[in-house]
């Protein structure tokens, strides 16, 4: 299977500002997160993917074709922009139907499909009220509906979980996973790490217009040598645990506090083994063991520092 989205040395600059610099990515079916702080180039990349910008250098292909001015490819894309201020006076149903019309559907098809997709995003009961009365979460859903109405193969979402309450967030995540399970390619851009992490483990880390890393969070993590892991041990026997792990290879340091000890190491496996041995041997009570920096947040912080 070939990549749905492929870029080669993709660069974009605005005057002297380099927004993207030599990006090489390949994205296949499933959910992929594009992660980066504000100004990293995520929106520029999104605009390049939707054909609203032309590359300054390099190439970008979708479904094996150039995207710029290619209406055939644009028909296969659904885009959920970050901003959610639309025509406040129109109803959600009218909003989706009107935008469906822009994809080339007949009015009849647009109405049928709009109704169906609104049901799918869970807005059927409020679709005939004006968008101006919608909550942030409802606006996110109606944006998603307009992007899905023409059954796109590729769904691009810019900050899709921003402003959602926990329930809405969970429902949106489930919906996106369902869509991915149907075989669609979903690209989610966000600067909120835990949002992307809750959606997918496949990420592209973008910083200052360059790709810092790409792939699964764990494999990125594994590839970073010299990246110290911090393991928190919550225990009344913190000093005893400290004694047991102090001789392990790769140990960087021990940081004791009232509740336990934080162990910094380059070889977490050796530390886990030493702690396990200590617990099994007796004399050590362990309340809680947690790896503080196995998540995306820690990887990201480490990479961008």
């Amino acid at each position: 299977m070939s990549a749905i989205l492929k870029t080669s040395s993709l660069s974009k600059w605005f005057g002297e500002v380099v927004a993207l610099n030599g990006i090489d990515i390949e994205i296949g079916v499933g959910i992929t997160g594009i992660l980066g702080p504000n100004g990293a180039g995520k929106s520029t990349l999104m605009n390049l993917i939707t054909g609203q910008l032309s590359p300054s250098k390099g190439s970008l292909t979708l479904f094996g074709e150039q995207i710029r001015n290619n209406l055939g490819v644009l028909r296969r894309i659904g885009y959920v922009p970050e901003q959610d201020r639309f025509w406040d006076e129109v109803t959600g149903y009218e909003f989706v139907t009107r935008l469906a019309g822009l994809t080339g559907m007949s009015i009849r098809d647009a109405k049928i499909r709009s109704k169906r997709v609104i049901e799918r995003v869970g807005l059927a009961d409020r679709c005939h009220t004006p968008i101006g009365s919608y909550s942030r979460g409802m606006r996110q859903r109606i944006k998603l509906a307009q992007a899905l109405v023409h059954d796109p193969d590729l769904l691009l979402l810019d900050e899709p979980l921003t402003g959602l309450d926990p329930l809405g967030r969970q429902e949106t995540i489930e919906l996106l996973r369902e869509l991915a399970d149907e075989g669609r390619t979903i690209v989610v851009a966000s600067h909120v790490l835990h949002e992307v992490e809750s959606l997918t483990s496949e990420v592209i880390l973008l910083v200052r217009g360059r790709i810092l890393a790409s792939g699964e969070v764990k494999s990125i993590r594994a590839h970073i040598e010299n990246f110290p892991h911090t393991i928190h041990c919550r225990s009344v026997d913190a000093r005893e645990i400290g004694k047991r792990v102090v001789a392990t290879p790769g140990l960087i340091g021990l940081d004791f506090d009232d509740q336990g000890v934080a162990i910094k190491t380059q070889d977490p496996a050796a530390v886990y083994a030493a702690i396990t041995d200590a617990v099994v041997a007796g004399g050590v009570t362990l309340d809680r063991l947690s790896a503080a920096d196995d998540d995306l947040d820690a990887v990201f912080k480490y990479l961008v520092r």
Binding site: M1, A3, F14, I25, E26, I27, G28, V29, G30, I31, T32, N47, T50, G51, Q52, L53, N69, L71, G72, L74, R75, I77, Y79, P81, Q83, R85, F86, W87, E89, V90, E94, R98, L99, G101, L102, T103, G104, M105, S106, D109, R113, Q146, H150, D151, P152, D153, L156, A180, D181, E182, G183, R184, E202, V203, A213, S214, G215, S219, I220, H223
Partner: protein, 294 residues
């Protein structure tokens, strides 16, 4: 480290709707804008008000052809004394009056067409659809031009048809067959530059109020400069740089009406075309700047 996930099945989307794609991609834009306008009370009021001159002129045609033809009666005698003639000048007069109403209507309609999209950043949504910038612009222009023609050329043709139905023979048609063509041409001379100018102002501002104010300011400034130069140079022909005067001059030529401006219609036409070209250039430039985020 490419990002791939190959565990999902290939998705086969339902593409039946795609088979019924409309070829006219700008049509949904026109539809959306008209729906949007018609939902506004102010626009509905303007539509009714702009139809009043049509009714008045229809009444005049009826009066001249039917009531004035009555052999007896005070009303018939009075109408005969008023001496209204349904000729080319009558239709030019109608269109001239109508342009004031239609200008307000077009200004109301077009002032928000682009600035609202810019303010709400809707271009981002529009252009992620299979829609080119040309389609987008065409949709906006067709909306305004269509509206303008519906209230100028269409009623002029309607009035001409009404006149034809009321006259007893074909003599009138033989003598005035060119009037409908002139009406259409004059309507285009008025509507196209007005549409481009008002849309350009809408594209350059972030609010429909500012857009409308910009159009009116330009119009007033244009008239002021034209009058000032005409007075300073003591040449009546300079007033042709006043765009409404230029439009009127072209109309006078189209309807063979005597003009008080001692300058040929091509000069007036050049002014009209100039306004349309400038407006169009501003529009295209502004929409092309969508690439830089508008």
């Amino acid at each position: 480290m490419p990002v791939f996930k190959q565990s999902y099945p290939t998705w086969r989307p339902d593409r039946r709707a795609g088979a019924q794609r409309t070829r006219v991609r700008w049509l949904p834009i026109v539809r959306r804008e008209l729906e949007q306008l018609v939902s506004q009370r102010g626009f509905k009021v303007l539509l009714v008000v702009a139809a009043l001159p049509v009714l008045v002129h229809l009444l005049q045609i009826y009066s001249v052809n039917k009531l004035a033809a009555e052999p007896n009666g005070d009303l018939a005698a009075m109408l005969r004394n008023v001496a209204i003639t349904i000729d080319a000048e009558f239709f030019f007069g109608f269109l001239h009056v109508q342009t004031y109403f239609v200008f307000v209507l077009m200004l109301y309609a077009s002032s928000g067409l682009l600035c609202d999209d810019i303010r709400l950043n809707l271009a981002e949504v529009y252009f992620s659809k299979p829609l080119t910038k040309r389609d987008y612009l065409l949709g906006k222009v067709v909306t305004v031009v269509g509206l303008g023609l519906t209230y100028t050329a269409l009623p002029a043709l309607f009035l001409f048809g009404a006149q034809l139905m009321m006259v007893p023979d074909a003599e009138y048609l033989r003598a005035n067959w060119w009037v409908p063509l002139s009406s259409l041409a004059f309507a285009l001379v008025f509507v196209i530059p007005t549409a481009f100018a008002t849309l350009a102002c809408s594209a350059l501002t972030s609010s429909r109020r500012y857009a409308a104010a910009a159009v009116i300011t330009l119009l007033v400034a244009n008239g002021f400069v034209a009058t000032l130069l005409s007075d300073i140079l003591n040449r009546r022909s300079v007033s042709i740089i006043n765009v409404p005067e230029a439009m009127g001059r072209v109309g006078e030529s189209l309807f063979s009406v005597e003009s008080y401006i001692p300058l040929g219609w091509p000069w007036a036409m050049a002014v009209v075309v100039g306004v349309a070209v400038i407006g169009c250039t501003v529009l295209v430039h502004r929409i092309n700047r969508v690439e830089a985020g508008l």
